[in-house]
C-alpha cells in the first residue's frame, strides 16, 4: 500500500529555504554593523566604530528618543482604547451604530498608510494644530488601536462566558465581574496587543512623515532620509540596535507569559 508521506523532502526544503530567505538579510545586516571598513560591502575586520558614531550623532539620538516616546505613548493609549473597543464588540451585543463602529475599526487594517497619513495631516492643518510629538502619537494610536482591538477581541471570543455569568450569579456587578474574572483571562492578549502596537509605531515611516513637524523627526524618518542618499555603515549599527531592542521586548514578554502560565498551573489545585 502506497502512503503519502506526511512530510516530504520538498516540504522540508521549502520550509528551510523560506526561513533562510526571511532571516539571512537580517543576519548579514547585523554582521556588517561590526565591519571596520567604511565601505559597506568590503569586510575590514571587527569593530565597534559605527556604534560610537551613532551615539555621537545628536540628530540620530534625538530621533531615536522621539520614536521611543511616541511608541510607548501611542501603544499605551491604543491598548486602553482598543481593549474597550474589543469589549464593546464582543460583549455589547447589539447597539446603535455598531456597524459603523466595526467598519471604522477594521478599515485602517487594510487601508494604505499614505491615505491614513494624508487624511490625518489634513485634519491637523484644519485645526491649526502644531505638528510634533502629539500629532504623531495620535496618528499612531489611531492606526494601532485597531490591531489591539482585533487581538483582544479574538481572545474574548474564545473565552467561556459562563465564568462571567457565574461571577454575577454569585453577586458581582458587571464591572467587578470584568475586573475579577475577564481581565486576568485576557491579560496575555492585552500585553500582546501593546507589544504589537509598540512595534508598529516604532516601525512606521509613512504616517509619521505626514503627521510630524520640523525638528521632531522619528528614527524611521531619519533612516529613510539617509538610505535614500545611499548605504552608510552607521545605518547598519542603528538598525542592529533597533533589532536588539525589539528582541529584548519579545524575550521579556515571553518570560512574563511563562511566569503567569506557571502561576496559573500552581493555582489550579486550590
Amino acid at each position: 500500500m502506497r502512503k503519502v508521506s506526511r512530510l516530504s523532502r520538498f516540504n522540508v526544503a521549502s520550509l528551510a529555504l523560506g526561513l533562510a530567505f526571511l532571516y539571512l538579510p537580517i543576519l548579514i545586516l547585523v554582521v556588517y554593523s561590526f565591519n571596520a571598513s567604511r565601505l559597506v560591502t568590503v569586510w575590514g575586520g571587527w569593530s565597534l566604530r559605527w556604534y560610537h558614531e551613532f551615539f555621537n550623532d545628536r540628530a540620530m539620538i534625538e530621533a531615536a528618543w522621539m520614536s521611543l516616546r511616541v511608541a510607548v505613548s501611542s501603544a499605551t493609549i491604543a491598548t486602553l482604547i482598543g481593549t474597550l473597543a474589543a469589549l464593546a464588540l464582543s460583549r455589547g451585543e447589539r447597539f446603535r451604530g455598531r456597524t459603523l463602529f466595526s467598519g471604522m475599526l477594521y478599515a485602517p487594517l487594510v487601508m494604505p498608510e499614505v491615505i491614513t497619513g494624508l487624511s490625518l495631516l489634513l485634519l491637523f492643518v484644519a485645526l491649526n494644530a502644531e505638528r510634533g510629538f502629539w500629532t504623531v502619537t495620535i496618528a499612531h494610536t489611531t492606526l494601532t488601536m485597531c490591531f489591539v482591538a482585533v487581538v483582544v477581541q479574538s481572545r474574548l471570543g474564545s473565552l467561556d462566558r459562563s465564568l462571567e455569568e457565574a461571577a454575577m450569579d454569585l453577586g458581582c456587578d458587571p464591572v467587578r465581574a470584568f475586573v475579577a474574572v475577564t481581565l486576568p483571562l485576557i491579560a496575555p492578549a492585552i500585553v500582546a496587543g501593546w507589544m504589537l502596537a509598540f512595534t508598529l509605531s516604532l516601525d512606521d515611516l509613512v504616517i509619521a512623515s505626514f503627521t510630524t513637524g520640523p525638528g521632531s523627526a522619528t528614527l524611521p524618518i531619519r533612516i529613510y532620509s539617509e538610505v535614500r542618499l545611499g548605504v552608510k555603515p552607521e545605518i547598519n549599527a542603528i538598525c542592529t540596535l533597533v533589532i536588539a531592542l525589539i528582541a529584548v521586548v519579545i524575550v521579556i514578554a515571553s518570560l512574563a507569559s511563562k511566569l503567569s502560565s506557571s502561576q496559573g498551573e500552581s493555582a489550579a489545585p486550590l
Partner: protein
Amino acid sequence: MSARRIFARPARLAAIAPYVWMVLFFLVPFGFVLKISLSQTAIAQPPYEPVFDLMAGWGALKTAFAALSIDNFRLLVSDDIYVFAYVRSLIVAVTATALLLLIGYPIAYGMARLPTRWQAVAMVLVIVPFWTSFLIRIYAWINILQHDGLLNQILLALHLVSQPVVWLSTDSAMYIGIVYSYLPFMILPLYATLAKMEPALEEAASDLGAPRWQVFWLVTFPLSLPGVGAGVLLCFIPIVGEFVIPDLLAGSNALMIGQTLWLEFFTNKDWPVASAAAIVLLLVLLVPLLLYERLQKRQLEQGR
C-alpha cells in the same frame, strides 16, 4: 434578565471612548480628504482653498458648496501619469501576490505537517521577522543588491556572471522586497487553514490510487481556499498602496500610485490632486474587498 444581558450594558458603554476617537481621527479626517479633493489648488499655506468657515454662517456654507468642483478627478482620468500609476500598481500587486502564493504555500504546508511541538517553533520563526523593523529589512536588501553588494560578489565568485548585475532600481529588486516583506502575511492564513485539514483525507485519496499531483489539486488545494483567499486579500490590498518598497528599491522609472500620491503631496504641493488620488485609490481597493466578502458568503451558503 439573564446575566449575559446585564453584562452587556456596561460593555456597550465601553464603546464610547473608542467610538469618539475613531470618529474624530478617522471619519472626520476622511471628510477633509473628500472636501479638499473637490477644492482648487492655491499658492498658499496650506495650498488649497480654505475649509468651511462655520462662524460665517449659512450663506458662506452655501458659497463653499458652490465652489466645489471635480476638476481634480478629471485631471486624474485625463493625465496618463495617474492612469499608468494605478494600472502599474494593480499589475505589481497581482504579480507579487501570485509570487507570494507560490512561495508561501509550500512553506505553510510544510509547517502544517510538522510534528505538533515543532509547529509552534515554526510559527514563531515566521512571525519574528515581522517584528523586525520593516524599513530595516528593506535596507538590508539594498545592502545585498547594490552594485558591489553581496549577491553580485557571490555570483562573480561562482562565475555565474562575468560582470556585476544591476539589481537596484529594477522591478526584480522591488519584487524581492515585496515578497520578502509580505511573506508572513501569506504564510499565516494558509497555515491556519492547512493545520486544520485532516491528513486522512489526503491518505484516502492516495489509497484509492490518485497520484500525488491529483491529491493536491482535488483534495488539498480546494480545502485550503479560505486560507488562500485571506492571504491573497491581506497581501494584495497593502501592496497596491505600497510606497516605501518601490521608492527605495525600484527607483523613479515607473511610479506606483502610492509614490505618485506622495510626490503630488510633498513635492508638487498639489494637495487637492493628492486628495483626489487618495479617494480613487480607496474606491479601487473596495473592489477586491467586496469580491472577497461575496466569496465568503457563497462559501458559507455552500457549507450549510
